[in-house]
């Protein structure tokens, strides 16, 4: 079984290995595998070794936090003071932030060792990580396939054991989808549970940072370290979760599991049958299964794309190439310079989404698209609230299919958007959800099961995922960091 955070923490405390030695082991693995996987886009080995030395000092002094000295990775849209943060976009080429994101500030205080920044879809806009200006990261399970997106690099490094854990961000499924495609665990916390300060914004009312890990327990540990309110993100709140890892071992007897048929429409039959097997397993162990309807769910995809793109068109308005990033070589006026900086700096998918956002916010279309999408969002929220009055969690697939082949040309932009069908409604409603490995398809590609909970009930979501992982997951062929690259 793969070594988890608690086991590494124990080894570090028993002096079986030092943080510097552990970091060097990971650096060696990255040097060997990253040229193929392209999962890291910025390596920070010098500062990692300095952080590991500092962690060893903290461990020697005693009372160090559990994450002290554990090597990890951050998605390239999480700001790191003085270290490259580019959102995998040409427009932020060479940008080094001048402050840390809150999540990184917190992890640094825990003694975390940052190995590097991970590959992603440009500005987190995509479902395969192929829109990265650095080229796509590869899926370690089978390098002919994509990692999923947009936190593809963060999933790839955990799957290939090139980091013990990583952080990603999830606007419409960007943690859960790559977790599903790479056979790792990915947690999208409740909106507001984790501060977004220092996360480069895509859709501010939807974005949330969360962990990608090789086990549910590790996800609980990392979430515990990064959660909490912060005055620099006015949407974040302090919620008393207690000790999350203590909630994991609870029995599932009597837990009410909701199943909504709308989540299963058009799902690959192999995936559907694996999720149904998992639901049966919960039932055999005393959980109560109930069926529900969520009629507005079928509108969640267009609602998501309208709201996310509207917010993106506003958030990305700041990139003018003047204070940082890509600058055109010749221009005829300041206006021309800004237009050229943006047109040369952004890739096609980002331009498509800025244009859609501009369209739905423009005069004459605002009521028909943006306002209506906001109203339907309220409707979706109310439907989830009604369902969660009657059940504790909802279970569904994470994605309608397993990983796509790389450079899959069969899909138009709109067809690509459909891969987010199972995940976007969770961001619209702001509820927590985890993707936990649930076996594999006939091609050997991982399948993800999604467990959703009430707002701020991460404890229940983690408990159910942990039960499945411990009871059936490993037998069902869950990836244990056994990347086959």
């Amino acid at each position: 079984m793969r070594t988890g955070i608690f086991e590494f923490a124990s080894k570090l405390r028993k002096r079986e290995i030092s943080a510097v030695e552990l970091t060097k082991e990971y650096i060696g693995a990255i040097e060997e595998k990253n040229p193929t996987l392209n999962a890291y886009v910025h390596l920070t080995f010098d500062t990692a070794l300095q952080a590991a030395e500092q962690a060893d000092r903290m461990l020697k002094e005693g009372d160090a936090p559990v994450l002290c000295g554990i090597p990890m990775a951050l998605k390239d849209n999480i700001c790191t003071d003085g270290l490259p943060t580019t959102c995998c976009s040409k427009i932020l080429d060479g940008f080094r932030p001048y402050y840390d994101a809150i999540v990184w500030e917190k992890l640094k205080a825990h003694g975390a060792v940052l190995l590097g920044k991970t590959n992603m879809d440009e500005f987190a806009m995509g479902s395969t990580s192929e829109t990265s200006c650095y080229g796509a990261p590869l899926n370690p399970i089978n390098t002919a396939y994509v990692t999923g997106g947009s936190s593809g690099g963060s999933a790839s490094v955990v799957c290939a054991d090139l980091a013990v854990y990583s952080l990603g961000s999830d606007t419409g499924g960007s943690i859960r989808l790559p977790a599903s495609f790479c056979g790792v665990v990915g947690l999208k916390p409740t909106y507001g549970a984790v501060s977004r300060y220092g996360l480069i914004a895509y859709g501010s009312s939807l974005d949330q940072i969360g962990p990608l890990t090789s086990s549910v327990k590790d996800a609980a540990i990392v979430f515990d370290a990064i959660k909490g309110g912060d005055k620099r993100d006015q949407t974040s709140v302090d919620f008393d979760y207690g000790v999350l890892t203590q909630a994991l071992d609870r029995d599932v007897k009597g837990v009410r599991i909701g199943v909504a048929e709308e989540f299963f429409d058009g799902i690959n039959p192999e995936i559907k049958s694996k999720i149904e097997e998992a639901i049966t397993l919960f039932e055999k162990n005393g959980a109560i299964i109930e069926s529900f309807r969520l009629p507005a769910l079928k509108l969640s995809l267009p609602v998501y794309y309208i709201i996310a793109c509207a917010e993106a068109s506003s958030n990305l308005g700041r990139y003018d190439g003047i204070r940082y990033g890509n600058r055109a070589s010749s221009y005829t006026s300041i206006e021309d310079m800004i237009v050229k900086n943006r047109s040369e700096g952004f890739g096609d998918e980002v331009k498509r989404r800025i244009m859609l956002g501009t369209y739905v916010l423009s005069s004459g279309y605002y009521d028909a698209y943006y306002k209506k999408a906001c109203l339907i969002r309220e409707e979706i929220n109310q439907e989830f609230d009604t369902v969660f009055d009657k059940c504790d969690v909802l279970i569904a697939p994470t994605a309608p299919n397993t990983a796509f082949p790389l450079n899959y040309k069969g899909a138009s932009p709109v067809e690509m958007y459909l891969s987010d069908i199972c995940t976007v409604s969770i961001n619209i409603a702001g509820i927590p959800a985890i993707s936990v490995p649930c076996g594999e398809d006939a091609k050997g590609l991982p399948i993800g099961m999604q467990i959703m909970g009430k707002k701020f009930d991460e404890a229940k979501v983690l408990q159910m995922a942990y039960f499945y992982e411990q009871t059936a997951g490993r037998k069902a062929g869950v990836n244990e960091g056994g990347a086959r690259v």
Binding site: Q234, T358, V414
Partner: protein, 97 residues
Amino acid sequence: MAVTKTEIEKLARLAKLSFSDEENERFTAEFDAIIAFADTINQSIEGGTEQIRSIGARMVSFEALRPDEVAQSLPNDKILSNVEGYNGFFSVERSKK
């Protein structure tokens, strides 16, 4: 609903983007499909979108604003550390009229 090349050009101006003729051609076709996709929010749900329960629900609340207090900012030299050749001014090429 068909989006014309002229509309695409207008949107591009608003978004401060420019497209070559070839890009414009491709983009107009793709954008048509994307707008058709966005239009599906107007398809009926049970009861119809016109009757959804939340019509008239709050869109954005401006009631809970925090006091506007001046706080310490990051130092200018740090914030502008990414500007190439910054010397107190932003250097740009002379405009060619």
